[in-house]
């Protein structure tokens, strides 16, 4: 029972880890990313379609990343280039993904609900779990020890200082947003070709937002964020386990209270009731050179 729960925790937290790492890049560079949800969704769709065609989950996940990247490019075009409001554009991107994926599904497979299912031999078994934690390590090192990593953080904290140092702020933000989309796309891919066996309509079901919550809970830092994903994944695993189980009396356990827990702690942490989580200073502010 315990080991099963542990394995299930590692599995369900994997898409969250990818997406939260993605969100971290974007937000550390000063670009709010509530579009993670949409980027995950297109990633999940593209990964399922390409895996069905090529029979290779690796090709599928690369294409999931490319799809997330493409949506991130669209998002970047609006929020960095055209200086659109980041929340509004994010809502737009999410809606576009929610509409476009079943639309394309209908064109490709003549069904709107979901893609055909992918045979078990062509899906990932455990690889994304390892990949997730390898990426956590890489992101940690990248942000901390490489010049581009530092640019990204500075673009979000002190864009003027970065600009004065001769580095183009918006270039750093572009890199961060594109990386963010690729990672979110990979997170989506791990939903459709790892956790389940096909793409289905709106299958992210709020995981992009939960990744955002984990990011806040993890104070926008790689390791704590990954741990927050594990914690939320654990809550999810427990909730799945307890569904329909009667622990006391005849009534099944109300799992809703476990479901809302991650969102509740995020509000409490952000408000400083439990610890304190402070967003990057320039988060949400478009940069324009005088």
């Amino acid at each position: 029972m315990t080991s099963q729960l542990l394995a299930s925790t590692l599995r369900v937290s994997t898409p969250l880890i990818f997406a939260a790492l993605g969100g971290m890049f974007s937000e550390r560079s000063g670009v709010v990313n509530i579009a993670l949800e949409g980027m995950m969704l297109v990633g999940a769709f593209a990964a399922a379609v390409v895996t069905l065609i090529t029979h290779s989950p690796w090709a599928g996940s690369v294409c999931g990343m490319v799809a997330g990247l493409a949506f991130a490019a669209l998002y970047g075009l609006f929020v960095i280039r055209l200086r659109a409001d980041q929340i509004v554009a994010g809502v737009g991107i999410n809606m576009l993904a929610a509409g476009l994926t079943p639309f394309l599904c209908k064109i490709l497979y003549d069904v709107t609900g979901s893609t055909p299912s992918i045979p078990i031999g062509e899906r990932f078994q455990t690889a994304p779990i390892y990949l997730g934690w390898i990426l956590v390590t890489i992101c940690f090192l990248w942000l901390k020890y490489t010049p581009t990593g530092l640019w990204v953080s500075f673009a979000g904290e002190h864009p003027e200082a970065l600009d004065a140092a001769g580095v183009r702020v918006n270039r750093a933000r572009w890199i961060a947003v594109l990386v963010s989309g690729a990672l979110a796309g990979l997170g989506g891919a791990s939903l459709s070709i790892f956790l389940s066996s096909s793409f289905s309509r709106n299958m992210t079901a709020g995981r992009g937002f939960m990744a955002l919550a984990a990011l806040i809970f993890g104070k926008w830092r790689p390791l704590p964020t990954a741990l927050a994903c594990l914690l939320f994944g654990f809550a999810d695993a427990v909730q799945i386990r307890l569904q329909g189980v009667a622990l006391w009396g005849e009534e099944p356990v109300p799992v809703q209270f476990i479901q809302i827990l991650p969102y509740l702690v995020t509000i409490l942490v952000l408000a400083g009731f439990v610890g304190r989580s402070r967003p990057p200073k320039a988060l949400g502010t478009p940069f324009q050179k005088e």
Binding site: V32, I34, F78, R81, L82, R83, A84, D85, I87, V88, A89, V91, G92, I93, N94, M95, L96, A98, G99, L100, P102, F103, K106, I107, T112, G206, F209, L212, A213, I216, E251, P254, Q256, F257, Q259, I260, Y263, L264, T266, I267, L270, A271, G272, F273, P279
Partner: protein, 341 residues
């Protein structure tokens, strides 16, 4: 002029691109337009359904617009309307015997108050704890969904059906449905929504408190210097926004379903963001934009049956494209620069 032209252009760009998608899918865009028009306005019933979808969108559009005028981004209308509708249904199911005028008033008040409280929470968090309302309202949407699911499935479950819905409300709670729409559930909620738009206009542009709200929205530090209690204004604006969203429950529960159904809202709260944006956060604009999005929602519903290749998801694509083209302020100034040179 530009104020008026820009939203119209955005809609045209969005519709044009969206129809381009249907063309790629192998449909004749002109046929799609005809289906949309016929399905949204073709008969009394169709137009009634368009108005039925318009009603909640006026409420959620106003809920976003009021907050926006006070400088706040309310992405939480979805959660506010969910709990508002749930509260109306709970009152209706628990006090089934209440007679007509009292009953709907009480249920409407419950919807309004519950929505207000749920809206005031992120307002308070922003004003007193400094945490951003965007994240908080997103989180509160999920919490509201969880709470609604718990109450519906455990506390007020309808024993006669497998559907996730609450017990039916008493007969005295049902509000008037207009007969001229061939059975489409257009109820008193529609005039209520329009009245709400008028009241919002009066409050924001004709009263001192509305002036203070807009002052905080435009320049918070200047407003503080002028002696306005920005914290109080923020909480008040979010409470109002939440109350407006909560009133969606009146049309849905008292005017249509007669109970709370889990997942009744096709994301009215999020479409409300598009409505407010397109309506430039003005009550008149909100009503007009709500009608447009209501028509789109109803119009695309028939695409599943009447076309080979496209589905009602086109409605989401169109909404997204319209949101994106409205959002790109920079796009317009960029085009203008190109035009000038």
């Amino acid at each position: 002029m530009r104020k008026f032209l820009q939203p119209v252009l955005a809609v045209l760009v969005g519709l044009g691109l969206g129809l381009g998608f249907t063309w790629i899918a192998g449909e004749n865009p002109w046929c799609v337009v005809q289906i949309l028009g016929k399905s949204a306005f073709g008969s009394g019933y169709d137009f009634g359904m368009t108005l039925f979808y318009t009603t909640p969108l006026i409420f959620t559009g106003l809920a976003v617009a009021v907050a926006f005028q006070a400088g706040l981004f309310n992405i939480g209308a979805e959660g506010q309307l969910t709990l508002g509708a749930l509260a109306a249904a709970a009152v209706g199911a628990l006090f089934r015997r209440l007679p007509w005028p009292v009953a709907p008033l009480l249920a409407g008040l419950a919807a309004l108050l519950t929505g207000s409280v749920w809206g005031a929470i992120p307002g308070w968090l922003r004003a007193k704890r400094g945490s951003h309302e965007v994240i908080n309202t997103i989180m509160l949407n999920f919490i509201a969904a969880g709470l609604a699911s718990y109450v519906t499935l455990y506390l007020l479950k309808n024993p006669d059906t497998q559907n996730p819905e609450t017990r039916a409300i008493g007969r005295g709670f049902l509000i008037h449905q207009f007969g001229m729409f061939g059975g489409a559930p257009v109820s008193t909620a529609l005039p209520l929504a329009i009245m709400a738009a008028v009241l919002v206009w009066i409050l924001l542009w004709q009263t001192a408190i509305g002036y203070e709200m807009r002052a905080v929205g435009q320049n918070e530090s200047a407003a503080r210097v002028a002696g306005i209690d920005a914290s109080k204004i923020r909480i008040l604006a979010m409470a109002m926004a939440g109350g407006l969203a909560g009133l969606v429950g009146v049309g849905e529960v008292l005017g249509n379903a007669g109970k709370f159904r889990l997942g009744f809202s096709p994301e009215y709260g999020f479409i409300g963001i598009a409505v407010a944006l397109l309506g430039r956060n003005q009550p008149v604009g909100v009503v007009a934009a709500a009608l447009l999005f209501g028509a789109l929602h109803k119009g695309t519903a028939n695409l599943d049956l009447e076309t080979e290749h496209v589905t009602r998801d086109v409605s989401l694509i169109l909404q997204a494209l319209i949101i994106l083209s409205v959002s790109a302020e920079g796009l317009w100034s960029w085009m203008k620069r190109r035009g000038d040179s």
